[in-house]
Assembly symmetry: D2
Homo-oligomer: 153 residues x 4
């Protein structure tokens, strides 16, 4: 009765512990200024501001950065059960341009999870609620846990 996550496996608390652990190690997401706003079992929300150095020659946010935000939200969502999970593939459709200074939010939710595979939908919107992109990811669970929960007394 130590109050550790393993002894008291509240799925929401577990998801938050996973999120904190992943985010700490995720240099790429942090260097892009991403923030993990929320994580729960099967879902995650991340934010990123569009910076000058993310613009393409057309003055709009390069698609790769929008992808990166959606991809990170996908990764947090599909790993939220503390089972190591990787992407097997994904697809993105760009709907509207994003401009410098805009704050983008990626909201990931689980569509399906069966056996070791899952499908997740991620929507990227700007601060006005306009949809910027939709992303669909397929996940595959591999061996191991994301974070060790045994000593979190």
């Amino acid at each position: 009765m130590d109050g550790s996550i393993s002894a008291c496996p509240d799925p929401g608390a577990l998801a938050r512990a996973v999120g904190a652990s992943m985010f700490e190690r995720d240099r790429a997401s942090r260097s892009l200024g991403m923030r993990l706003i929320d994580i729960d079992p099967g879902g995650a929300t991340m934010e990123m501001a569009v910076r000058e150095d993310m613009l393409n020659g057309h003055g709009t946010c390069q698609g790769g950065f929008i992808f990166a935000l959606a991809d990170s939200a996908f990764a947090f969502a599909c790993n939220s059960y503390n089972r190591n999970t990787v992407a097997s593939g994904c697809a993105i459709d760009y709907l509207a341009p994003a401009f410098v200074g805009e704050r983008l939010t990626a909201h990931a939710r689980e569509v399906s999870r069966a056996g070791r595979t899952g499908v997740y939908d991620i929507t990227v919107s700007n601060q006005k609620g306009a949809k910027i992109a939709v992303f669909r990811g397929r996940s595959y669970e591999i061996k191991g846990a994301v974070t060790d929960t045994s000593d979190q007394a």
Copy 2:
């Protein structure tokens, strides 16, 4: 006798001028250590070495970096005609993991180009020739040229 690209519109020379101009402005690709190996009308080849800071918790290259390499090769290929072109969407399938120190090559080729839209296939392989991922991108031509070719006397 000005030797400018516009006066002598060799498509291959134009593609190379576009590639040089885009690469110079493309901080994201350069910060990931990408190199533009080749560019011709409708095609491009880029390389990137897998660095320590690209690894995920499983010790393999995070999918987002493999995507970024393929996405860059796609961008160079679809802009190679010196017409401003953006991605309208894309999809990636991861086939095999990539490990630190490996040298990845993304080879982009045009599948179709009609009106203002195009489809491009990108294959990412490692230095042994093993396929790491396949990527398919759809492009959309917008207004303007990538690089000004009039004063390159």
Copy 3:
């Protein structure tokens, strides 16, 4: 004051007129036993029962028939504004098998519509509400109307 659709362009009534007109001409959907349950601006719901002749060698519904159902719902949804619209591409992920006798429902809803292009999400479920497949379609508006509304007095 003739009560025609053009004179009284209620979007819901227009969508239903389009649906009736399309369905009457759509031999393929009818030969598969599909029914158009509902149509409104940007959305459509279709049903299909899994028949013996839709089974593959594994005794489950062949993916192509699940695709066909989703694809039809997509077509009705993106044509519901009475502007001729075709698919430019789509993707499907199969989530669970469907068995003979099951009643499948495809629910299509608009994700985005801007200029001449749109993105639609279609979910296929069985009669128990279990998700069988998710489908994402991209549409492109061409010339002309789906149905002539001028003489529907």
Copy 4:
């Protein structure tokens, strides 16, 4: 010395035996007038003529029939090793319209096959060699064989 396929497992002969067995059972493909032109380990080629009853309201072949042709070629290719294999998902991009009377050819080739999963690329062209669509399918191997090879003495 029975000359059966299992005793003399020539991969090409096995693929052809699988193809013949699948095609015989495949009412859907036959009712659309498809023909299996060629099958070998990891690859298949199918043909279909565009019929009047495949046209949409715009007078061009409905995308679902082009999908069906590509999907069949995919199914034959990924089952060609005589291991029961189903689609886990796929995506199609339509490149050019197909007209009545045209003869469409779908050529499927294996991109990757590892463990129980595979990726296949299918190109659909018309009789002039113009590309009509590109299709990418992901396969998943389940239990069992496509055809019993033990008694084919």
